[in-house]
């Protein structure tokens, strides 16, 4: 491979559309550091996203990327990884993208356990559409978009991922790019579907999230001994704790590209009367 070791080498020449102070800058930094640590070949790496501020991330990388429609990044990535097991596939998106419009795919991606890494930038708000509540917004937040008397409880992504079968579940913080890069590196190394929930502040619509840097407990999570213990932490533990919550022990299987055993003419023979 060519000599790529610097995180900056993974950056494209596009200038991010993100607002000053947006947490997603830290995620971008962490992603490039993780890629550099893993010495990924740029042309063998694909970063797939949907729609949202966070979903703009692939365009800022000089790898392959795909910026699809809102909520459908996981199916695009699944199709790509199944068709091309030789690639390293990473998926990025927001809490709206992954837990609302794409929530069905989130659950089934966990079940399917295709070898790829999901990075969810959770800002507990719809950033791109300017501030509406998201699935991780608490019921105390009021907004003109939601005046019906329903008090939806915040979606617990880590617990859902564990229950749905994800073999690697972690939480990171965009304000700690080095720590986050280490988590992402481990997530990409995990030979299966890996979920990394990233606390990534939206300083415009949730200015109080600027305080997260004081509230986050770095590396407070260490891989739980068993799934029940992981679930207990996901349900009742500190939601500002970062680290790897669950890592299922398994052998790393080398991807086996499908191989042909027959040809179309032989298949067509079956129609002869």
């Amino acid at each position: 491979m060519t000599e790529i070791i610097k995180p900056a080498d993974y950056k494209s020449d596009l200038k991010p559309v993100w607002c000053p102070g947006c947490g997603d800058f830290g995620v971008l930094a962490a992603v490039t550091r993780a890629f550099a640590a893993l010495e990924l070949e740029k042309h063998q790496t694909a970063v797939i996203s949907g729609i949202g501020c966070s979903s703009r991330l692939p365009a800022y990388l000089d790898t392959y990327g795909y910026h699809g429609v809102h909520g459908r990044a996981l199916p695009v990535a699944t199709g790509l990884k199944l068709a091309r097991p030789d690639l390293t596939v990473v998926v990025t998106g927001g809490d709206g993208d992954m837990y609302s419009i794409g929530a069905g795919h989130f659950i089934h991606a966990c079940r399917r356990d295709v070898n790829m890494t999901l990075l969810v930038m959770d800002n507990r708000v719809y950033g791109m559409t300017k501030g509406q509540p998201s699935p991780t917004t608490g019921p105390e937040v009021t907004h003109p978009m939601s005046t019906a008397d329903v008090r939806a409880r915040p979606f617990n992504a880590l617990a859902t991922a564990l229950v749905a079968g994800a073999g690697f579940v972690a939480r990171g913080f965009s304000g700690d790019p080095d720590g986050l890069a280490r988590i992402i590196t481990e997530a990409i190394r995990h030979p299966g579907f890996a979920v990394v929930e990233i606390l990534s502040p939206c300083v415009v619509y949730r200015p109080e999230q600027k305080q997260w840097k004081h509230q986050v407990r770095r590396d407070a999570l260490i891989p739980a001994a068993d799934l029940n213990a992981a679930l207990e932490l996901a349900m009742n533990g500190d939601e500002m704790a970062t680290g790897i919550l669950w890592r299922e022990k398994r052998e790393r299987q080398a991807p086996t590209p499908p191989t042909a055993r027959t040809d179309v003419a032989a298949i067509a023979e079956a129609f002869r009367v």
Partner: protein, 588 residues
């Protein structure tokens, strides 16, 4: 002999039969085995199914046509009905017209009033007296009908043995005994058909439209599929699964159609030709994804095996009413391909062609099949496998220059760098973009890309495959998909009666081909547009994109019965003021 009135003399060449029965009677199994045995005996033929709303069991009927010559559709009426029992038979009477003088055989005498009126009188068999307790009436029915059309016992025994191979020797023997008992009973009646001199030559196939479509896709190079189960497309997908796997590809059952279409996009972005099959409700869910494929210029093929809508509609029955959503259902201005196969064998060609075009033009293609074609089983001369193959314009590994994924080129198609191509790194986006694929809201970029996406489809030469055409004359019949069979049949009947008509069956619906259609319509003074739709979607489509000369009439109705050749002939008779054409069905 009882009930031995002379048959319609033409029926010696060609016969239409119904096998009906209630839940568990096995009418469909009897029909499938009869068709297979007929194929082995050297006949051509086809079979469709009419089933009730129940998922399993419930009333069902196998509708067969067996002929010494190739056939493409049912005739308008049925010559023979064998009712294993009469459970809920009345549900089919709107769909199954018995010919005057039709023969009716039954395993029970509680027949409905409308059938009791048939002449000659129905013939009953007392299965309890004729069969041992563990022998099945549907196998009796199979043996009986097979013998009446001259199929020898060894062929019947062989198809039974193959079908029940997994159930053990005892079951096979019992079924063969029941069929032999039926054959013995047939000796009391005049034969219904004179069998061909020779048994089936090796080069005949028995295949359904859905199978042919899947085979066409494989032949053209599809190696990734994702789908969510939906009637009447699931049998296509289920046939495809093990075969695509054996070819080194894969099929994923997606969590929904939103996932299926986006999985295709991912696989195709990865360089692997990809396909999904669905029906109307699933196509509706895929629309946003298809638009994304248009915008990012990602090739893929979606087969919509149409069923009656809107909404859940009539899931098991045919209609041609997804035309407008397929043509116009994408938001924004999103040029894409829409194709329609006109017959069971044409599913093979048209699907392969759709794959080839989608790959070449880097755009999604919707193939509008329909239940009538997809779930029709047909005996045909073995077709050649289509020699179309997916050939995508790929970018070569590059140096430091950025990938010009969406640049202007002579044919308006830019080379695609698939992941793994060194130097080709880029990020396709559903946002409007510039030539490098970078998001852009500049009007100039929007205009340039809109033009290019349209031009690459408009400028391509689709050749003669765009439509199937027969005949001359100043009267044109235009139909599509499953309406092609009655149109072509009516045209043949007209020609046999000395009335020249021409038929135009467009296979490529989008992009429209105005110059080709104008040439096809040169000299035409009257047009009859035929479709299986209530509101006339196809007529609207033709009027929007083509100049239809002279007097234009529409023959259309929705619903499972479809269009009968006799109706088409009657409409031609009205248009041309030739009353002779209105005579009852003339059998070729």
């Amino acid at each position: 002999m009882p009930g031995s009135k002379p048959m319609n003399p033409a029926a010696k060449q060609d016969i239409t039969l119904v096998i009906a029965g209630g839940g568990g009677a096995g009418a469909l199994t009897a029909g499938e085995l009869l068709l297979k045995a007929a194929a082995r005996r050297g006949y051509f033929g086809l079979m469709t199914r009419a089933v009730g709303p129940q998922i399993r069991g419930g009333e069902s009927a196998a509708l067969l046509r067996i002929s010494r010559a190739p056939v493409a559709a049912h005739r308008d009426m049925f010559d023979v009905l064998f009712a294993i029992d009469w459970t809920n038979y009345a549900r089919f009477t709107g769909e199954i017209a018995l010919a005057p003088g039709a023969r009716v055989f039954a395993g029970a005498d509680d027949m409905p009033q409308e059938v009791a009126a048939a002449r000659p009188l129905p013939e009953h068999f007392d299965f309890r007296a004729l069969l041992a307790r563990d022998e099945r009436p549907n196998m009796f029915t199979l043996g009986f009908l097979a013998a009446l059309i001259g199929i020898e016992a060894d062929i019947v025994a062989a198809v039974i043995a193959e079908r029940f191979a997994h159930l053990g020797r005892e079951v096979r023997a019992r079924n063969i005994r029941a069929a032999a008992t039926g054959a013995a009973q047939a000796a009391r009646f005049d034969p219904l058909l004179r069998p061909p001199a020779a048994r089936a030559p090796q080069e005949r196939w028995l295949i359904s439209g859905n199978q042919a479509a899947a085979l066409g896709a494989l032949a053209a190079g599809v190696r990734f599929a994702a789908a969510y189960p939906i009637t009447p497309s699931s049998d296509l997908t289920e046939w495809l699964g093990p075969r695509i796997e054996a070819l080194g590809g894969q099929l994923v059952q997606a969590e929904d159609e939103l996932a299926s279409i986006n999985m295709l996009i991912g696989a195709s972005f990865g360089g692997v030709p990809a396909l999904s099959a669905t029906s109307g409700p699933g196509l509706a869910l895929m629309m946003e994804g298809i638009g994304l494929a248009v915008m990012t210029e990602t090739p893929l093929v979606v087969i919509d095996v149409q069923r009656a809508g809107p909404s859940t509609g009539i899931p098991t029955r045919s209609e041609q009413t997804d035309l407008e959503i397929a043509l116009y259902g994408l938001h924004g201005e999103a040029p894409h391909l829409v194709l329609a196969p006109m017959s069971v064998p044409d599913c093979l060609f048209t699907t392969a062609w759709a794959v080839e075009l989608a790959e070449r033009l880097q755009t999604p293609a919707i193939v509008l099949s329909e239940q009538r074609i997809g779930q029709m089983n047909m005996i045909l001369d073995a077709p050649a496998l289509p020699d179309m193959t997916a050939q995508r314009k790929l970018a070569q590994p590059a140096g430091d220059d950025p990938c010009l994924r969406y640049a202007a080129t002579a044919d308006h198609v830019a080379p695609m760098a698939i992941p793994g191509t060194a130097g080709g790194m880029h990020t396709p986006t559903g946002l409007e973009h510039d030539a490098r694929g970078r998001p852009s809201s500049q009007p100039a970029d929007h205009l340039a890309q809109l033009r290019r996406r349209q031009e690459k489809l408009a400028a391509f030469d689709y050749g003669d495959h765009w439509a199937h055409m027969e005949g001359e004359g100043a009267m044109a019949l235009i139909g599509w998909g499953g309406a092609a069979a009655p149109v072509l049949e009516a045209a043949r009947q007209c020609r046999a009666m000395g009335v020249e008509v021409r038929t135009i069956i467009p296979r490529l619906l989008a992009p429209a081909q105005p110059d080709r259609m104008a040439a096809a319509l040169a000299g035409v003074e009257r047009v009859l547009v035929v479709e299986n739709s209530h509101s006339g979607q196809f007529l609207r489509y033709l009027r929007a994109h083509y100049d239809l000369p002279g007097e234009v009439r529409s023959l259309r109705h929705a619903g499972p019965a479809g269009i009968a050749a006799g109706e088409v002939r009657a409409a031609i008779a009205d248009l041309l003021h030739i009353d002779d054409l209105k005579q009852p069905e003339a059998v070729s």
